[in-house]
């Protein structure tokens, strides 16, 4: 896990459009005192590629050494205002106001502008579930919704469910039951798992619910069906099911 600031956001962030630290095949650093790869890579990119790199860097990127030329270059770039919009929503309880290109998905707003890189971009087409977040308590694919469509919404990401110091019970259960291997799908799996238990408790039926008129039960077959929108390429499914069963208080 990365070092985190008090508000739970990642302390170090890559330049916009560069997903160096989150490749599925490269698990990120697991201890907080490992040298910050994000900073190293950001500085390498900025130093090594000169002007080209500057174009990649929005002024809001929190580099270790703020760069005046970057800000100046950014300020000189024209912004076509009709393709931009302001939006205000809460993320993990904090009110955030953003100026976004209308094309920016909720996923990219969270990752690239708010530096909440816990939410992952997998397929970017709603097929894998890595980008799952909770909006007004409901799980959705953050890659298939525009940031500008979320005025006034309350968004919860993995950073808002728990912290390394105080894990959410579902996170704790994933750790205990080894519910991951590379970890890339895990934030989406955890957000989805939390919402699945809420959906069953709220009486929302599923494809495997036998009787539509009785309350769905907290069974493994129900949980597995409801988790089908979260793909795990490492195949940690049975351990994820065990973790969910433990949190649900049932036998897997």
């Amino acid at each position: 896990m990365h070092q985190r600031t008090d508000d739970g956001s990642a302390e170090f962030a890559p330049p916009q459009g560069v997903y160096v630290d989150d490749a599925p095949s490269e698990p990120s650093s697991i201890t907080s005192d490992v040298p910050a790869r994000r900073t190293f890579i950001a500085q390498t990119v900025a130093g090594g590629l000169g002007l080209l790199a500057l174009e990649l860097l929005p002024s809001s990127v929190a580099l270790a050494q703020p760069s005046a030329p970057v800000d100046a270059l950014r300020a000189s770039m024209p912004v076509i205002t009709e393709y931009h919009a302001g939006v205000t929503f809460t993320v993990n309880g904090a009110t955030r106001t953003l100026d976004v290109d209308t094309r920016v998905t909720l996923l990219d707003a969270l990752r690239e502008q708010l530096k909440l890189t816990g939410t992952k971009k997998g397929c970017d087409h709603g097929q894998c579930g890595a980008c799952t977040v909770l909006v007004n308590g409901t799980r959705i694919n953050s890659c298939l919704t525009l940031a500008v469509m979320h005025e006034g919404d309350a968004i919860t990401t993995i950073e808002g469910l728990g912290t390394p110091e105080k894990l959410h019970p579902m996170q704790e259960a994933f750790v205990k039951h080894d519910g991951y291997q590379c970890g890339y799908c895990t934030p989406g799996q955890v957000c989805s798992a939390v919402a699945v238990l809420d959906e069953i408790r709220a009486g929302i039926p599923s494809h495997v619910t036998t009787d539509l008129m009785s309350r769905p039960q907290l069974t493994t077959i129900e949980m597995r069906e409801r988790m089908s929108g979260n793909i795990c390429r490492c195949g940690a499914y049975s351990n994820i099911a065990d973790a969910m069963a433990e949190v649900a208080g049932v036998r897997a």
């Binding site: 076509i80 009709e82 393709y83 919009a85 290109d101 209308t102 094309r103 998905t105 970017d124 087409h125 709603g126 579930g129 799952t132 409901t138 799980r139 959705i140 694919n141 298939l144 919704t145 525009l146 500008v148 469509m149 005025e151 989805s192 919402a195 699945v196 959906e199 709220a202 009486g203 929302i204 039926p205 599923s206 494809h207 619910t209 539509l212 008129m213 069906e225 409801r226 988790m227 089908s228 929108g229 979260n230």
Partner: protein
């Protein structure tokens, strides 16, 4: 994505007017299909009109005590499937909804958006390939290509795409009606049977909606009673499109209605075939699929329809 401007409409008529007056404009509701297609530049709207503030998110009894329900266009698939009235009186619809997509997508996908979802034909999705539905006049790659998922009936020399959804198949068996409004405030009610089109020579036109016409609701007639079944056959147990699906409402005397998904450009229902239900699945399937033109890849769907129908009819009789 190509750049676009964005607005949130305040009323259904305003939304219709905004789309009608702006070239390249589209409505956006849940966005789960449109944004996917925009990322691939299969859809390239220049303006989006967001319909989330129009108050189209309620499920209400139809005025006049007819016993039916009016489902707001913006009602999510999850909300609709979980509604007690739908679960009790329109079980085939709840079952169809729950057989579709994933939990995350059902939470966002809307009733109207589900009806309007585009085909998942692989050539429609591949912008490097000819496709009459995506780029009219370029040809159909699927005719001589990979067509396992595609249509076996009602197709044309221009297109063998399928309507990919589950919900519409149940809506068809229930004889739902699609309510719309246009920019001038004029409303109309389109029977679901007339809503989706066959491809013919204009496969780029999926439905009979007119430009700028907004779906405001889908209404269901009074409950049919009977046993409601939705049986979806697919390549994996969850989160996959149908190869074949059967929506059925079967009465105690063996009469009933069936509509088939996954085999045509629209939910496939032949009322004359339903008369043959007491004679068994073979007779029904033969009539339903009269004139079918499967490809080598999807010829398996013809016997699969009959077998899925037989399974559904056994379930309806209560056979183990």
């Amino acid at each position: 994505m190509k750049p676009f401007t964005y607005e949130r409409a305040k009323s259904a008529t305003d939304a219709a007017a905004a789309v009608a007056r702006t070239p390249g404009a589209r409505f956006i509701a849940g966005g789960t299909n449109l944004l996917d297609l925009m990322k691939l530049q299969i859809e390239t709207p220049t303006h989006l009109v967001d319909v989330q503030d129009l108050g189209l998110d309620r499920i209400e009894p139809i005025d006049g005590g007819s016993g039916g329900l009016r489902i707001g266009a913006f009602v999510s698939n999850t909300t609709l499937a979980a509604d007690e009235r739908i679960r009790r009186d329109y079980g085939v619809l709840a079952r169809a909804l729950l057989a579709g997509a994933s939990g995350q997508l059902r939470n966002k996908a809307t009733t109207a958006g589900n009806l309007l979802q585009r085909t998942r034909c692989p050539y429609f999705y591949d912008t490097n390939q000819p496709c009459n539905k995506r780029a009219p006049g370029t040809g159909c790659s699927a005719l001589t290509g990979y067509s396992r998922q595609l249509a076996v009936i009602g197709s044309s020399a221009a297109c063998i795409a399928t309507h990919p959804g589950d919900m519409a198949v149940a809506m068809r068996v229930l004889d739902a009606t699609v309510e719309t409004v246009k920019a001038d405030g004029a409303t109309r009610a389109v029977p679901i049977a007339d809503f989706h089109r066959l491809p013919g020579t204009t496969p780029h036109v999926d439905t009979t909606l007119q430009a700028g016409e907004l779906i405001t609701a889908v209404t269901l007639p009074k409950p049919l009673g009977g046993t409601h079944i939705y049986h979806k056959v697919r390549d994996r147990a969850s989160y996959a499109f149908a190869l074949v699906s059967v929506a059925a409402v079967v009465q105690r005397d063996g009469s009933g209605r069936v509509a088939i998904g996954g085999i045509a450009h629209k939910p496939w229902r032949v009322e004359a075939a339903e008369q043959l239900l007491p004679r068994g699945a073979k007779a029904v399937a033969r009539r339903l699929l009269a004139g079918a033109k499967p490809t080598r890849d999807n010829a398996f769907k013809v016997p699969l329809v009959e077998r899925t129908l037989a399974s559904v009819m056994a379930d309806a009789r209560g056979d183990a």
